[in-house]
Symmetry: C2
Subunit: 454 residues, 2 copies
């Protein structure tokens, strides 16, 4: 390995020889002195090269998109003058602490500079380019410090979730993408030719396969997996392909047990994010990470409608569900009333839930919930109907043909415990955590109806 | 939550009241006493019900595939007689330690028994059914203790890998499945209609997107993701959809740096598996988990050919690669010579490597490797060519059209550091770790050219 030092670790070092590697953020090519700001994945540092004092130094150019006549020059100054923004370089020099340097109070005086790869002279985007343009060049866009931070936060969040699950006896499963039968609604499914077996569908959730784990006696499982939706949705909250964070567990009494698990999980995840990145998030996003207190507020859907209406908003949907503005309204109410960023909305009618949700005999409503985070739905969870006769009746009531569900219904024929779980959109959590306006900002490579590249 | 106690935790408890939940493995319905072996995800326990001594006890049947005339009976004995194998039940009773009980020296005297879900009277498979038949009913097959153990091992292994990576500054990325352009060989790609954008392809590896992370300055990344191969391969080592474990890192000097990382990663993973599951693996698989010593042996491919030939095996392939028997032979040599389960084969000619591998100027061979584990290839790794002009020349030399590669080549136009990485088949590692004969045994839900269900 190149014995480079991460930029973030320079400040703590004593003055002396160092090697740093990264890309060129800015060049100030002055007559007497040259300045380069070099960035790596951990931060920015100022490099300095006093022209007059520059000795003949070896400079090796290993690549180039820029026409280069000579591949080796002995002049550091000349090479610095040739640097295009975004070029990747390795620099060896003398680290010096100097309070006058605005950028972190340190600079590196260049002894030698190796250009590993020249960038094309014109970078096609800047930090303030339009989102869609930035996504065209996501590989440049991700060089922004805040974007780099987003994916370090994602890594921390997921790892904290996995650790919590594993500490609590959950098994991680890799549910398949290819399915022989459509899972819920044919209209939202991608399909393709699958050898001699006819059509395969791409899973729009790991639902079937994590329920299968319950019949298989695995007890408690989680899955973090890509899922696919073929409906042409263009909102800031939808993607054609996204990462779904799912859990399913046996021997629950109701959806209350699922909510109790999910809120512990979220507390563990946000605690880890706050501890590891709280300061960086404050600096880059101007946001204080709030670790929620458990239990989160719980409000039955019917009551939520009343509350929202009292606030002067009439939900225009006819089906009884909340719309996005309704979700923002109930979240605002909860924030004002309980000071909480999260709220579980519970007890949805079966008419707006999939057939496999369990109906509570007392209320006639499903044992299910949505979880709203800072005004946006991030999760649907439920106890599932595990009694085959009831499940079939509910499917028929929904107008589904049992024939198409055989592969799923098989899971219930040979014994299955009571169970439930939830699915959570990873990007939605990140979007709400960081106060972003679109999941496109917090998805590594967004895929939508009009975006399939890069 | 049901306040059930996991079976594995019973032995450590004092005699007294307990609740256990699981499924029925066996019933011995004798005249004077009834025995049930109940299994949950953690183990087996014997339940006992002395008929004569049985008081009238509440029994609730909540579901059933079996025709049931009466939904409530007051007779535990009658319900036990009705139990079908695989039915899920919750039992409350008295735990008693008794050395005479072969199954763990404990039993539970049943006070009440609730049937949560009756299994169909005929289970379609047994532990010794043919593999393909077992896979048809994977949700029953996974109830086997050794199968349950496989996925707990997988969970531990992956978590140890992720933890090692994260402790070493790696970022986890979710690379997309949908691609606008074919990545390597069109013949192996699934394709489908993608809105108005024409054809989308399913990624056969996260290769492009983890390299993109290097241009994006993320430094070190890993991805654990499903990938898709449309070639009709029927060997015990291939699947149509499988989980790929990938890493990619910047600022390497050569593939040596990638190997050094991978061997540390594998040591961390296997150490965790040995510590957490060593005893269970010995019991269920008759295998001692060997934590390898680093560095692993490294043998250039040409030398490997000589060694294999000296052992009396002539590789029949014309292209210079080893075949599976050749891999077994070199592994046997390494085991005999160095006592090691792993061997890196290095320095493959470009003719049998993808165009994006870097060629060493001295040797004319690629800076790449395969990793063989107990005789099976589990990984290909390499330093990538990051110099655009060289990369394009290599693509052309391979007969590829640059036009189809534009989206990939774009990553190299705006600066990119030297980098490399590897891809590793999760199921292959598990297969070799546990001495299994097929990845189908260690894949949660196998997908192959003739298998798309369940």
């Amino acid at each position: 390995m190149t014995s480079r030092i991460l930029v973030k670790n320079l400040a703590a070092r004593e003055d002396g020889p160092v090697t740093v590697s990264g890309w060129v953020e800015t060049v100030r090519d002055q007559k007497k002195v040259q300045f380069v700001v070099l960035r790596d994945e951990s931060g920015d540092v100022q490099l300095v090269h006093p022209r007059a004092a520059a000795p003949a130094t070896e400079v090796v150019e290993t690549s180039g998109d820029v026409p280069v006549g000579v591949s080796v020059t002995d002049d550091v100054a000349e090479t610095i003058s040739s640097l295009t923004l975004g070029s990747f370089v390795t620099v060896t020099g003398e680290l010096k602490h100097d309070e006058r340097v605005k950028l972190g109070g340190i600079e590196v005086k260049i002894d030698s500079l190796t250009v590993e790869s020249y960038a094309h002279p014109e970078l096609p985007i800047a930090a303030d380019s339009a989102l869609d343009k930035r996504l065209d060049y996501r590989f440049i866009d991700l060089r922004q410090k805040r974007n780099n931070l987003i994916f370090r936060i994602q890594t921390t969040l997921e790892h904290a979730w996995r650790t919590w699950w594993i500490d609590n006896g959950y098994i991680e499963v890799h549910t398949p993408t290819f399915m022989a039968t459509p899972s819920e609604s044919r209209a939202e499914l991608f399909q393709l030719d699958y050898f001699d077996l006819g059509t395969a569908y791409l899973a729009q959730s790991p639902q079937h396969f994590k329920q299968m784990a319950q019949a298989a006696g695995l007890g408690k499982v989680f899955a973090i997996t890509p899922v696919f939706r073929a409906d042409p949705s263009f909102t800031s909250r939808h993607a054609t392909e996204y990462t779904s964070v799912d859990a399913e567990l046996s021997w629950i009494d109701s959806h209350d047990d699922v909510m109790a698990m999910q809120e512990q999980l979220l507390v563990a995840g946000l605690t880890a994010v706050e501890e590891k990145h709280g300061d960086e998030i404050r600096e880059a996003f101007g946001i204080e990470v709030e670790v929620p207190a458990a239990p989160f507020p719980r409000i039955p859907l019917a009551e939520a409608h009343e509350i929202v209406e009292k606030r002067g908003y009439k939900v225009p949907r006819e089906d009884g569900d909340l719309d996005p503005e309704g979700e923002r309204q109930i979240a605002a109410y909860v924030k004002e009333t309980y000071g909480h960023d999260f709220v579980f909305l519970t007890d949805y009618p079966l008419s707006i839930r999939p057939f496999y949700h369990m109906v509570d005999e007392q209320t006639g409503l499903t044992k299910s919930y949505d979880l709203i985070y800072n005004g946006v739905e991030i999760t649907t969870g439920a106890q599932r109907e595990h009694r085959l006769d009831v499940l079939e009746a509910q499917a028929v009531k929904k107008g589904l043909e049992l024939e198409g569900l055989e592969s799923y219904l098989d899971f219930f024929r040979y014994g299955i415990p009571p169970h439930g779980g939830f699915g959570m959109g990873l990007a939605r959590v990140l979007m709400q955590l960081l106060g972003e306006q679109s999941i496109r900002e917090v998805t590594y490579l967004f895929r939508g109806p009009t975006r399939l590249k890069p």
